[in-house]
């Protein structure tokens, strides 16, 4: 159990890389990249978890009454989730532009076009 969450993060990253490398459609590649992004969130939050802890949000509990998990990694992850979505948008915009220019979104065909 002590490294299982880390292994899941590693698996997600490798699976995403496999999807990126074997993709025949750039939109599918962007989706695979989202899986890679997800792996970083899982790893960060797993590092910050504390058994028996709760979130360090003191709106409904008294400070000090319960052990809390690490808030630093949560702060890093939470901004990255939203920023990551806008980056996905940027990549999708590039895909749309590629399809307009070349009429295909298959990376293999795009390479043939370039010669």
């Amino acid at each position: 159990m002590s490294i299982l969450p880390y292994l899941v993060a590693g698996w997600l990253f490798l699976a995403g890389c496999y999807g990126l490398a074997t993709s025949r459609n750039l939109i599918h590649a962007v989706g695979s990249l989202a899986v890679c992004q997800a792996s970083t969130y899982v790893l960060l939050l797993a590092v910050g978890y504390r058994r028996g802890g709760t979130a360090p949000v003191f709106s409904d509990i008294r400070p000090g009454s319960r052990p809390v998990v690490d808030p630093v990694v949560q702060a890093l992850t939470l901004t990255d989730v939203v920023v990551g979505a806008t980056l996905t948008a940027l990549l999708l915009a590039l895909v749309v532009q590629v399809s307009k220019r070349h009429g295909t979104v298959d990376p293999d065909e795009l390479r043939e076009l370039r010669g």
């Binding site: 074997t22 360090p56 939203v82 915009a93």
Partner: protein, 264 residues
């Protein structure tokens, strides 16, 4: 490089990476351990500054400079999307067709629109107290606007959503954050330091500058999402390329794979 060679290279790379990751994971502190020195200090600092949501305190106070970088990335990504997806000379805009929406669906979507908007604002406003904040609430509030597209059609959304206005709001949120930091500098404190009175723990006005920066981020994220979706919706619904494409003829034909790629 043939497909076979590529797959072998990929397999070797992935297996090597997997081995290194497993070796690294074994050296990480065990999952669920109680040793979190940074977390402990962050919680103490946040409580000292009367911010009950420690995560918001880290984002908008203790590591506010880092968040400025994050929001700059966000702004850059939105700017890039707008530039890439602008209407070019060989494209024309067509009027979107009005959609026929079933009456119960229309009633539901129009009723839920204000609820979603309020939920988004609630999540932004309570950022320093309970889970939430500008990043999350901004997305929810921006999504609310697009219920108009579902309830009525794209023309209704276009009438309400002025893209220049939202671009301006996005820029205002983006600029407001560092300007606030500079304003703090004027008072003699360091950049983005928490100089406002901390208030009472657990109330909406607690946390000093945290709610202010939180609101700036909320404005920026909400406007950014509206602008982003406007670009994609325009591309998918309104913008069509002129006939006689240059690129179409140059694509090799008789390839056999081409039909498959187009149908996928």
């Amino acid at each position: 490089m043939s497909l076979r060679v590529r797959m072998v290279v990929l397999a070797v790379g992935l297996l090597g990476l997997a081995a290194m990751l497993v070796a690294a994971f074994r050296k990480l502190p065990g999952f669920g351990g109680s040793w979190h020195p940074y977390g402990q200090r962050a919680v103490e600092t946040a409580l000292g500054r009367h911010t009950s949501n420690v995560i918001a305190s880290i984002n908008f106070d203790q590591r506010a400079f880092d968040t400025m970088g994050e929001q700059a990335i966000l702004f850059g990504a939105v700017l890039g999307t707008v530039v890439i997806l602008r209407t070019t000379r060989d494209e024309r805009r067509v009027e979107p067709e009005p959609a026929r929406v079933p009456a119960p669906l229309r009633r539901y979507a129009l009723a839920v629109l204000p609820v979603t908007l309020l939920t988004g604002l609630y999540v932004v406003a309570h950022g320093q107290v309970s889970p939430g904040g500008g990043f999350q609430g901004g997305v929810v509030a921006a999504t609310a606007l697009h219920l108009l597209y579902i309830a009525v059609d794209y023309r209704a959304l276009q009438r309400v959503r002025s893209v220049p206005l939202f671009t301006l709001a996005d820029a205002a949120g983006e600029a407001g954050y560092p300007l606030l930091g500079l304003g703090v500098l004027m008072t003699g404190a360091s950049f983005l330091e928490n100089v406002l009175p901390y208030g009472t723990l657990g109330t909406l006005s607690s946390g000093g500058t945290v709610p202010v920066l939180n609101a700036a981020i909320g404005l920026e994220v909400a406007a950014a999402v509206v602008v982003l979706l406007a670009q994609f919706l325009d591309q998918a619904i309104v913008i069509e390329s002129e006939d006689g494409e240059q690129g179409a003829g140059s694509v090799g034909d008789g390839d056999g794979r081409r039909g498959e790629g187009g149908a996928a």
